[in-house]
């Protein structure tokens, strides 16, 4: 088995996706395009849910360009998909922070649950789940996506967002209670 040496170490060239990672790390754009096509749905869905449909295209492109630039640092210690996803989350968080809304979004407003005004009537049983996520308040939405959709733990989210773990739990419960109103008629 051959290998490609990168700054992050030796990436073995095996078969399938692993070989594409190694080839892309060596500068092969065709291999990188295959990686893009394999992962773009998940990455675009993440950005769309965490940010907005309008921003998702641009940020997804940013993520893949950043991935290309950092491929040499990929050590193969985790699955490429895991590494890519974490990189994507970091880019999304950076983007959100650049809007300087983190502080306001993470405030533990005791009246937050009273702000629900967008819940569909019980007759709208087939409301699109994605649309419901998009209507969540930004902070609750971010943590709902990271925890319930992407599977991160509260302690991981707390580190990523630089917030207390308790804040993450409260925002998650807030999000679930809001989402519950969308699904209560299913």
């Amino acid at each position: 088995m051959t290998a490609v040496m990168t700054l992050g170490g030796e990436i073995p060239v095996g078969s399938g996706l692993d070989s594409d990672v190694a080839l892309a790390a060596g500068g092969d754009q065709s291999a990188f395009e295959r990686l893009y096509r394999t992962h773009v749905s998940r990455i675009h869905s993440l950005t769309r849910r965490m940010l907005s449909t309008q921003e998702a295209d641009e940020v997804t492109q940013d993520i893949f360009v950043r991935t290309w630039q950092k491929l040499g640092q990929f050590r193969g210690e985790s699955a490429f998909s895991t590494w890519l996803h974490r990189l994507a989350v970091n880019v999304v968080i950076e983007r959100r922070r650049s809007y300087a809304i983190q502080r306001e979004r993470m405030s533990d407003d005791p009246t937050a649950l009273d702000q629900l005004t967008v819940g569909p009537a019980r007759a709208d049983l087939k409301v699109d789940f994605e649309s419901a996520i998009a209507q969540l308040p930004p902070g609750a939405r971010e943590i709902f996506v990271l925890h319930d959709v992407e599977g991160y733990k509260h302690r991981e989210i707390a580190v990523m967002l630089d917030i207390a773990s308790g804040t993450s739990k409260r925002q998650l419960h807030r999000a679930r209670m809001l989402m519950r109103q969308h699904l209560s008629g299913d």
Partner: protein
């Protein structure tokens, strides 16, 4: 629905509650249908979120990405060996002062040795550059054949000219210390020295080469330090001085070679 209980249902569902709280919630749920219903709703929300499908973007984003990849070049460079530990050279002023003193001592000693062999009078030291073409000392004193180095060029500093006194170092028999002229002068002298080194004894060649090596090291160190601190007048002066001493040493060695026939 009892908010004091429902507020704990997400933590309950996620297994985040301490054991005693979890038992208390269990007990409440057994007797409270509304809270149990909320818990069921939350379970459905969590199940739906976990099973939500990823959707591709509506437009193909690859073309835009590929264009940006071409702008940014290849990913982090591929290296054939383990990354070498690199360190940035950094010098304190005392270190540079010590280096300068060493440089002065070394090149001064070399110059003294060469002058002793040449018998150059002190009045000529630092004067016009010697002709590499074989003119005698007297001919040079009389303004004989024009050397490769321009005699009437203005004095300027190649690096970091800041008017802090470094210009004093730059003056070397009216040879400009600007890169182009300096490099040309050094190249001419090196060529002349190479041509005439056969006329020098081995010990003299060794002295000259050893001291040129030391001076080159000083020049390189000063240049590297200036990369990190380009506005540092002391570094600029140190560089100019090192370059001046190299030129001086080359000039004297070339003169020695030209006269040792």
């Amino acid at each position: 629905m009892h908010q004091e209980w429902t507020d704990r249902l997400s933590d309950y569902l996620d297994g985040e509650l301490p054991e005693d709280e979890r038992r208390a919630v269990d007990q409440h749920l057994r007797g409270c249908a509304s809270c149990a219903a909320v818990l069921n709703d939350l379970k459905r929300v969590v199940a739906r979120a976990a099973s939500i499908d990823a959707r591709p973007p509506q437009a193909d984003l690859w073309r835009g990405i590929a264009a940006r990849l071409n702008e940014s070049g290849e990913p982090a460079p591929v290296v054939p060996f383990a990354p070498r530990e690199t360190r940035r050279l950094a010098f304190t002023l005392p270190q540079l002062a010590a280096a300068a003193a060493l440089l002065i001592a070394v090149s001064g000693a070399a110059a003294w040795q060469l002058e002793a062999r040449l018998g150059i009078p002190g009045s000529l030291r630092g004067g016009r550059p010697h002709d590499a073409g074989g003119n005698s000392g007297q001919a040079r004193q009389d303004g004989g054949a024009e050397p490769a180095i321009r005699l009437d060029s203005p004095v300027s500093l190649g690096v970091g000219a800041d008017g802090n006194g470094a210009a004093d170092f730059a003056r070397l028999g009216n040879v400009s210390m600007a890169d182009a002229q300096y490099d040309a002068a050094v190249a001419d002298l090196e060529g002349a020295l190479k041509a005439g080194r056969g006329r020098l004894d081995a010990s003299t060649v060794a002295i000259v080469e050893h001291n040129l090596q030391i001076i080159d090291q000083a020049i390189n160190q000063a240049r590297e330090a200036l990369v990190g601190d380009p506005a540092n007048g002391y570094l600029s002066g140190h560089l100019v001085e090192a370059r001046r001493r190299k030129l001086d040493l080359l000039r004297r060695a070339t003169a020695l070679a030209s006269e040792t026939d």
